[in-house]
Subunit: 163 residues, 2 copies
Amino acid sequence: MRHTISVLVENKPGVLARCAGLFARRGFNIDSLAVSVTENKAVSRITLTVAGDELTLDQICKQLDKLVDVIAVLDHTNDLVVERELCLCKVAASPQQRAEVIQICNIFRGECVDVGNGTLTFEVTGDEEKIDAFVRLMKEYGIKEMVRTGKVVVPRGMQPTQQ
Amino acid sequence: MRHTISVLVENKPGVLARCAGLFARRGFNIDSLAVSVTENKAVSRITLTVAGDELTLDQICKQLDKLVDVIAVLDHTNDLVVERELCLCKVAASPQQRAEVIQICNIFRGECVDVGNGTLTFEVTGDEEKIDAFVRLMKEYGIKEMVRTGKVVVPRGMQPTQQ
Protein backbone atom coordinates (compact mmCIF):
# COMPACT_ATOMS: atom_id res chain seq x y z
CA MET A 1 0.00 0.00 0.00
CA ARG A 2 1.21 3.51 -0.86
CA HIS A 3 1.64 5.90 2.04
CA THR A 4 2.10 9.65 2.00
CA ILE A 5 4.06 10.96 4.95
CA SER A 6 4.84 14.54 6.03
CA VAL A 7 7.92 15.11 8.16
CA LEU A 8 8.56 18.51 9.72
CA VAL A 9 12.26 18.96 10.41
CA GLU A 10 14.75 21.60 11.48
CA ASN A 11 16.33 23.26 8.43
CA LYS A 12 19.90 21.99 9.06
CA PRO A 13 22.51 20.13 6.98
CA GLY A 14 22.27 16.36 7.19
CA VAL A 15 18.67 16.02 8.34
CA LEU A 16 17.39 14.84 4.96
CA ALA A 17 20.23 12.31 4.66
CA ARG A 18 19.37 10.86 8.09
CA CYS A 19 15.66 10.62 7.26
CA ALA A 20 16.29 9.03 3.85
CA GLY A 21 18.83 6.70 5.47
CA LEU A 22 16.18 5.27 7.80
CA PHE A 23 14.12 4.14 4.81
CA ALA A 24 17.18 2.90 2.91
CA ARG A 25 18.37 0.69 5.77
CA ARG A 26 15.04 -1.15 5.72
CA GLY A 27 15.17 -1.52 1.94
CA PHE A 28 12.18 0.77 1.39
CA ASN A 29 12.19 2.63 -1.90
CA ILE A 30 11.01 6.23 -1.65
CA ASP A 31 8.84 6.74 -4.76
CA SER A 32 8.80 10.51 -4.54
CA LEU A 33 10.04 13.11 -2.10
CA ALA A 34 9.70 16.87 -1.94
CA VAL A 35 11.41 19.06 0.62
CA SER A 36 11.37 22.82 0.95
CA VAL A 37 11.11 25.53 3.59
CA THR A 38 7.79 26.31 5.28
CA GLU A 39 6.41 29.68 6.40
CA ASN A 40 8.95 29.41 9.21
CA LYS A 41 12.47 29.60 7.65
CA ALA A 42 13.92 27.42 10.42
CA VAL A 43 11.59 24.54 9.58
CA SER A 44 11.55 22.40 6.42
CA ARG A 45 8.79 20.08 5.37
CA ILE A 46 9.50 16.74 3.71
CA THR A 47 6.61 15.04 1.91
CA LEU A 48 7.35 11.52 0.76
CA THR A 49 5.46 8.63 -0.77
CA VAL A 50 6.55 5.11 -0.04
CA ALA A 51 5.07 1.66 -0.58
CA GLY A 52 5.52 -1.12 1.92
CA ASP A 53 4.03 -3.18 4.70
CA GLU A 54 2.09 -1.34 7.37
CA LEU A 55 4.06 -2.67 10.34
CA THR A 56 7.59 -1.80 9.20
CA LEU A 57 6.46 1.59 7.95
CA ASP A 58 4.88 2.29 11.31
CA GLN A 59 8.21 1.45 12.96
CA ILE A 60 10.12 3.73 10.58
CA CYS A 61 7.72 6.60 11.38
CA LYS A 62 8.32 6.07 15.11
CA GLN A 63 12.09 6.05 14.56
CA LEU A 64 11.86 9.19 12.41
CA ASP A 65 9.96 10.88 15.22
CA LYS A 66 12.82 10.09 17.62
CA LEU A 67 15.49 11.78 15.46
CA VAL A 68 16.77 14.91 17.16
CA ASP A 69 15.96 17.33 14.33
CA VAL A 70 12.52 15.92 13.54
CA ILE A 71 9.63 17.98 14.87
CA ALA A 72 6.64 15.93 13.72
CA VAL A 73 5.78 12.93 11.54
CA LEU A 74 2.33 12.46 10.00
CA ASP A 75 0.94 9.65 7.91
CA HIS A 76 -1.77 11.08 5.64
CA THR A 77 -2.99 7.71 4.36
CA ASN A 78 -6.41 7.94 6.03
CA ASP A 79 -6.73 11.75 6.00
CA LEU A 80 -8.82 13.91 3.74
CA VAL A 81 -6.16 15.89 1.90
CA VAL A 82 -5.60 18.14 -1.07
CA GLU A 83 -2.76 16.54 -3.02
CA ARG A 84 -0.90 18.17 -5.87
CA GLU A 85 2.12 17.53 -8.00
CA LEU A 86 3.76 19.57 -10.74
CA CYS A 87 5.16 18.19 -13.98
CA LEU A 88 7.30 19.88 -16.62
CA CYS A 89 7.20 17.89 -19.83
CA LYS A 90 9.08 18.62 -23.05
CA VAL A 91 7.34 16.97 -25.99
CA ALA A 92 8.39 16.53 -29.61
CA ALA A 93 5.94 18.43 -31.80
CA SER A 94 6.37 19.64 -35.35
CA PRO A 95 4.83 23.04 -36.18
CA GLN A 96 1.93 21.11 -37.78
CA GLN A 97 1.30 19.11 -34.58
CA ARG A 98 1.48 22.06 -32.21
CA ALA A 99 -2.23 22.92 -32.19
CA GLU A 100 -3.13 19.30 -31.51
CA VAL A 101 -0.70 18.92 -28.61
CA ILE A 102 -1.65 22.27 -27.09
CA GLN A 103 -5.31 21.22 -27.23
CA ILE A 104 -4.57 18.16 -25.09
CA CYS A 105 -2.65 20.37 -22.67
CA ASN A 106 -5.64 22.72 -22.41
CA ILE A 107 -7.95 19.82 -21.55
CA PHE A 108 -5.63 19.06 -18.63
CA ARG A 109 -5.64 22.77 -17.74
CA GLY A 110 -1.91 22.81 -18.31
CA GLU A 111 0.13 25.67 -19.65
CA CYS A 112 2.58 25.82 -22.51
CA VAL A 113 5.68 27.43 -20.97
CA ASP A 114 8.24 27.13 -23.78
CA VAL A 115 8.45 26.39 -27.45
CA GLY A 116 11.56 25.28 -29.33
CA ASN A 117 12.44 24.09 -32.77
CA GLY A 118 10.27 20.96 -32.81
CA THR A 119 9.47 20.90 -29.10
CA LEU A 120 6.85 22.22 -26.69
CA THR A 121 7.27 22.36 -22.92
CA PHE A 122 4.17 22.04 -20.74
CA GLU A 123 3.48 22.69 -17.07
CA VAL A 124 0.70 20.55 -15.63
CA THR A 125 -0.42 20.30 -12.01
CA GLY A 126 -2.82 17.88 -10.39
CA ASP A 127 -2.93 14.66 -8.44
CA GLU A 128 -0.76 11.72 -9.39
CA GLU A 129 -3.38 10.03 -11.59
CA LYS A 130 -3.95 13.17 -13.62
CA ILE A 131 -0.25 13.65 -14.27
CA ASP A 132 0.09 9.95 -15.15
CA ALA A 133 -2.75 10.29 -17.67
CA PHE A 134 -1.17 13.39 -19.21
CA VAL A 135 2.22 11.72 -19.51
CA ARG A 136 0.64 8.63 -21.11
CA LEU A 137 -0.93 10.82 -23.80
CA MET A 138 2.27 12.78 -24.40
CA LYS A 139 4.27 9.56 -24.83
CA GLU A 140 2.57 9.08 -28.19
CA TYR A 141 4.18 12.27 -29.46
CA GLY A 142 7.53 11.50 -27.89
CA ILE A 143 8.69 12.86 -24.55
CA LYS A 144 12.09 14.53 -24.87
CA GLU A 145 12.44 15.24 -21.19
CA MET A 146 10.23 15.18 -18.12
CA VAL A 147 10.54 16.17 -14.49
CA ARG A 148 7.96 15.78 -11.70
CA THR A 149 8.12 17.35 -8.26
CA GLY A 150 6.57 14.51 -6.29
CA LYS A 151 3.37 14.85 -4.33
CA VAL A 152 2.70 17.49 -1.66
CA VAL A 153 -0.38 17.42 0.57
CA VAL A 154 -2.33 19.72 2.85
CA PRO A 155 -5.24 18.42 4.97
CA ARG A 156 -8.67 19.70 3.95
CA GLY A 157 -10.68 22.13 6.06
CA MET A 158 -9.52 23.10 9.51
CA GLN A 159 -7.43 20.06 10.44
CA PRO A 160 -3.85 21.25 10.91
CA THR A 161 -0.72 19.20 10.21
CA GLN A 162 1.55 21.24 12.40
CA GLN A 163 0.86 20.88 16.09
CA MET B 1 25.74 31.43 -4.79
CA ARG B 2 22.65 29.26 -5.28
CA HIS B 3 22.99 26.31 -7.62
CA THR B 4 20.30 24.15 -9.15
CA ILE B 5 21.46 20.63 -9.87
CA SER B 6 19.70 17.75 -11.66
CA VAL B 7 20.78 14.22 -10.83
CA LEU B 8 19.49 11.29 -12.87
CA VAL B 9 19.63 8.10 -10.82
CA GLU B 10 18.52 4.49 -10.92
CA ASN B 11 15.19 4.09 -9.11
CA LYS B 12 16.50 1.87 -6.28
CA PRO B 13 16.35 1.99 -2.47
CA GLY B 14 19.17 3.94 -0.84
CA VAL B 15 20.25 6.07 -3.79
CA LEU B 16 18.68 9.25 -2.42
CA ALA B 17 20.23 8.67 1.00
CA ARG B 18 23.69 8.28 -0.57
CA CYS B 19 23.30 11.44 -2.66
CA ALA B 20 22.01 13.49 0.27
CA GLY B 21 24.79 12.05 2.43
CA LEU B 22 27.46 13.47 0.12
CA PHE B 23 26.16 16.99 0.74
CA ALA B 24 25.68 16.39 4.46
CA ARG B 25 29.26 15.22 5.00
CA ARG B 26 30.54 18.53 3.60
CA GLY B 27 28.12 20.51 5.75
CA PHE B 28 26.12 21.75 2.75
CA ASN B 29 22.47 22.46 3.46
CA ILE B 30 20.11 21.38 0.68
CA ASP B 31 17.57 24.22 0.43
CA SER B 32 15.06 22.26 -1.59
CA LEU B 33 14.95 18.86 -3.24
CA ALA B 34 12.39 17.15 -5.43
CA VAL B 35 12.65 13.58 -6.61
CA SER B 36 10.22 11.57 -8.69
CA VAL B 37 10.17 9.07 -11.55
CA THR B 38 10.83 10.18 -15.12
CA GLU B 39 9.25 8.92 -18.34
CA ASN B 40 11.42 5.83 -17.79
CA LYS B 41 10.18 4.04 -14.65
CA ALA B 42 13.68 2.70 -13.91
CA VAL B 43 15.12 6.22 -13.68
CA SER B 44 14.39 8.90 -11.06
CA ARG B 45 15.31 12.53 -11.34
CA ILE B 46 16.49 14.52 -8.33
CA THR B 47 16.42 18.31 -8.61
CA LEU B 48 18.10 20.12 -5.75
CA THR B 49 19.06 23.66 -4.87
CA VAL B 50 22.06 24.28 -2.68
CA ALA B 51 24.14 27.31 -1.74
CA GLY B 52 27.87 27.14 -1.27
CA ASP B 53 31.29 27.82 -2.67
CA GLU B 54 31.89 26.93 -6.30
CA LEU B 55 34.91 24.71 -5.70
CA THR B 56 33.48 22.35 -3.08
CA LEU B 57 30.21 22.10 -4.97
CA ASP B 58 32.09 21.17 -8.11
CA GLN B 59 33.85 18.41 -6.14
CA ILE B 60 30.54 17.13 -4.77
CA CYS B 61 29.10 16.99 -8.30
CA LYS B 62 32.09 14.96 -9.47
CA GLN B 63 31.71 12.59 -6.51
CA LEU B 64 27.98 12.26 -7.21
CA ASP B 65 28.77 11.34 -10.79
CA LYS B 66 31.01 8.52 -9.55
CA LEU B 67 28.29 6.88 -7.44
CA VAL B 68 27.26 3.56 -8.94
CA ASP B 69 23.55 4.33 -9.34
CA VAL B 70 24.01 7.87 -10.66
CA ILE B 71 23.50 8.20 -14.41
CA ALA B 72 24.16 11.92 -14.91
CA VAL B 73 24.74 15.12 -12.92
CA LEU B 74 23.98 18.55 -14.37
CA ASP B 75 24.50 22.00 -12.89
CA HIS B 76 21.90 24.35 -14.41
CA THR B 77 23.39 27.54 -12.97
CA ASN B 78 24.40 28.99 -16.32
CA ASP B 79 21.70 27.32 -18.43
CA LEU B 80 18.59 28.87 -19.87
CA VAL B 81 15.87 26.93 -18.08
CA VAL B 82 12.18 26.92 -17.32
CA GLU B 83 11.92 26.67 -13.54
CA ARG B 84 8.75 25.96 -11.64
CA GLU B 85 7.68 25.24 -8.10
CA LEU B 86 4.28 24.43 -6.61
CA CYS B 87 2.96 25.76 -3.32
CA LEU B 88 -0.11 24.71 -1.34
CA CYS B 89 -0.96 27.40 1.20
CA LYS B 90 -3.79 27.32 3.75
CA VAL B 91 -4.68 30.85 4.82
CA ALA B 92 -6.93 32.15 7.59
CA ALA B 93 -9.83 34.02 5.99
CA SER B 94 -13.20 34.89 7.45
CA PRO B 95 -16.19 34.70 5.06
CA GLN B 96 -15.94 38.53 4.78
CA GLN B 97 -12.27 38.37 3.76
CA ARG B 98 -12.68 35.59 1.21
CA ALA B 99 -13.25 37.78 -1.86
CA GLU B 100 -10.20 39.88 -1.00
CA VAL B 101 -7.89 36.90 -0.54
CA ILE B 102 -9.18 35.13 -3.66
CA GLN B 103 -8.52 38.31 -5.65
CA ILE B 104 -4.84 38.23 -4.66
CA CYS B 105 -4.68 34.56 -5.62
CA ASN B 106 -6.16 35.39 -9.03
CA ILE B 107 -3.50 38.02 -9.64
CA PHE B 108 -0.90 35.29 -9.06
CA ARG B 109 -2.90 33.01 -11.39
CA GLY B 110 -3.34 30.63 -8.49
CA GLU B 111 -6.32 28.44 -7.82
CA CYS B 112 -8.46 28.07 -4.72
CA VAL B 113 -8.51 24.30 -4.12
CA ASP B 114 -10.30 24.04 -0.76
CA VAL B 115 -12.38 26.12 1.60
CA GLY B 116 -12.91 25.40 5.28
CA ASN B 117 -14.55 27.11 8.21
CA GLY B 118 -12.35 30.22 8.29
CA THR B 119 -9.67 28.95 5.90
CA LEU B 120 -8.90 28.93 2.18
CA THR B 121 -6.32 26.68 0.53
CA PHE B 122 -4.54 27.92 -2.58
CA GLU B 123 -2.41 26.26 -5.22
CA VAL B 124 0.14 28.56 -6.83
CA THR B 125 2.88 27.66 -9.31
CA GLY B 126 5.76 29.76 -10.59
CA ASP B 127 9.40 30.44 -10.01
CA GLU B 128 10.82 30.86 -6.53
CA GLU B 129 10.46 34.65 -6.43
CA LYS B 130 6.80 34.53 -7.41
CA ILE B 131 5.99 31.98 -4.71
CA ASP B 132 7.98 34.03 -2.17
CA ALA B 133 5.97 37.13 -3.10
CA PHE B 134 2.69 35.25 -2.78
CA VAL B 135 3.64 33.82 0.61
CA ARG B 136 4.69 37.28 1.85
CA LEU B 137 1.26 38.66 0.98
CA MET B 138 -0.56 35.73 2.55
CA LYS B 139 1.39 36.13 5.79
CA GLU B 140 -0.64 39.26 6.51
CA TYR B 141 -3.81 37.17 6.68
CA GLY B 142 -2.16 34.39 8.66
CA ILE B 143 -0.77 31.22 7.11
CA LYS B 144 -2.16 28.14 8.84
CA GLU B 145 -0.07 25.71 6.88
CA MET B 146 2.14 25.75 3.83
CA VAL B 147 4.01 23.22 1.75
CA ARG B 148 6.26 23.82 -1.27
CA THR B 149 7.59 21.21 -3.66
CA GLY B 150 10.99 22.74 -4.31
CA LYS B 151 12.14 23.83 -7.72
CA VAL B 152 12.18 21.65 -10.84
CA VAL B 153 13.82 22.75 -14.09
CA VAL B 154 13.83 21.84 -17.77
CA PRO B 155 16.25 23.48 -20.23
CA ARG B 156 14.62 25.77 -22.77
CA GLY B 157 14.40 24.93 -26.47
CA MET B 158 16.14 21.88 -27.83
CA GLN B 159 18.99 21.47 -25.34
CA PRO B 160 18.47 18.11 -23.63
CA THR B 161 19.38 17.28 -20.03
CA GLN B 162 19.53 13.56 -20.54
CA GLN B 163 22.39 12.42 -22.69
